[in-house]
Amino acid sequence: MSAIEALITELARLPGIGRKTAQRLTFHLLQQPPEQAGRLASALVAVSERVRPCEQCGNLTEEQPCAICRDPRRDPALLCVVEDASAVAVVDRSTDFRGRYHVLGGRLSPLDGIGPESLRLDPLVARVRGGEVREVILATNPSMEGEVTATYIQQLLAGLNVRVTRLARGLPMGGDLEYVDGVTLAHALVARQEVS
């Protein structure tokens, strides 16, 4: 396989990148000064060598524990449970949540053979049993699998002295009711809130 072909093949393995895009990226890189490709290559090597899951929360980090777990201003009583490390960045960037996280490393999915033993559930129970956590916020995805994962965790934590909440499913901001799908609208109606 030629060097060009090898790069196209590797890029095309990435999510959301088809063969055409992989080709475009490859030829773009070839038109740049060689230092640029060198920087990209060393950045790739650096992440794969240095980034590891945080031993406490499962978030991706270069140091143990991660910056969020180390941050003394964060409220250790609030624990936000997410499916993947990428969701930590999303929640942290977009909300003013200032508690800590717990990354499951996936969601329950019988069709993919993914059961409770494949998720970071024992560490979650251990953290809750530790006694510092007062509220667990289940922020799994609003999909059937995210839902069954949330109900499973809720049942797992029942009996432990902790409040368990689930992200509300509601209307997107900036939307127009006309364009909201029926499922979202129905959930938003069920989860309606008192305004006064």
Binding site: L108, P110, L111, G115, P142, T151, G182
Partner: protein, 253 residues
């Protein structure tokens, strides 16, 4: 390209590219079909949140002749079976039914299996927790039967000789049911004890009361059913949801 409109249930939904999903649908009028839902992951997609595993709706797609992948133009949600996510045993059972549909429902019209699958999801969502296990057995046997592999219990699966109406029977997964003593001697069979036979008879009869299978009987029946599905339907293919259901990972916790 003809535009097809049919009741459908989503069997799987995979991300495709940045914004699309590829769904496999059990359709009432055209068997199992695959379609691409372009832009389904965009925030204000017309598909909204409807393309979830096990959601039921009216699908509309442009059927590409000679092609495996159609273009989904609409999916009007009728029912999101959220109750199935109420606990893992329920969801695992529903997933097995979905997996059997996905792998074995013919690509041709087969309204009987579609209707059975749809009613099964509804029944499973509504069932009281203690019934989920036995109801799952019954629904799975019914689905296997409607797909053409009903186990024979009243007559020998090989030569049709009537079998005694009660008592233990030689049973052969490979032959598709119980055997007469002569066939059992010639072709081999395992013994289906009298109580297991009674349970299976009750499970196959939709009018009969749901049997209560205790831990040991439940486990034995689950193995029998899984072996039967694997042998008659899988042809060596992997069935992750069936294995998941068989190993009951929620019990380890």
């Amino acid at each position: 390209m003809p535009l097809v409109t049919t009741p459908a249930i989503v069997l799987s939904a995979l991300r495709y590219g940045e914004t699309s999903k590829i769904v496999r649908l059990a359709t009432r009028e055209h068997g199992v079909q695959s379609a691409i839902a372009k832009g389904a992951l965009r925030p204000r997609s017309r598909f909204g949140a409807s393309l979830q595993v096990l959601s039921e709706g009216q699908a509309q797609y442009l059927a590409k002749e000679q092609r495996e992948l159609h273009i989904l133009t609409a999916f009007d949600l009728l029912h999101l079976h959220v109750a199935l996510a109420g606990d893992l045993p329920r969801y695992a059972t529903a997933s097995v039914l979905g997996e059997v549909m996905l792998r074995f429902a013919p690509p041709d019209p087969h309204p009987e299996s579609y209707d059975l699958f749809r009613d099964a999801l509804e029944a499973l969502g509504q069932a009281p927790t203690p019934d989920v296990d036995a109801l799952g057995f019954r629904l799975l046997w019914h689905l296997v039967s409607v797909l053409g592999f009903a186990p024979s219990l009243e007559a020998c699966a090989r030569d049709g000789i009537r079998l005694p109406e009660t008592g233990a029977l030689p049973f052969s997964t490979r032959e598709g049911g119980a055997l007469c003593p002569a066939c059992a001697a010639e072709h081999g069979a395992t013994q289906l004890p009298a109580d297991a036979r009674e349970d299976l008879t009750a499970l196959l009869d939709p009018g009969a009361a749901l049997p209560r299978l205790d831990g040991r009987h439940g486990a034995a029946h689950r193995r029998l059913l899984a072996r039967y599905v694997r042998y008659h339907l899988a042809e060596g293919a992997e069935l992750p949801a069936l294995e998941f259901w068989l190993r009951r990972p929620w019990e380890a916790a």
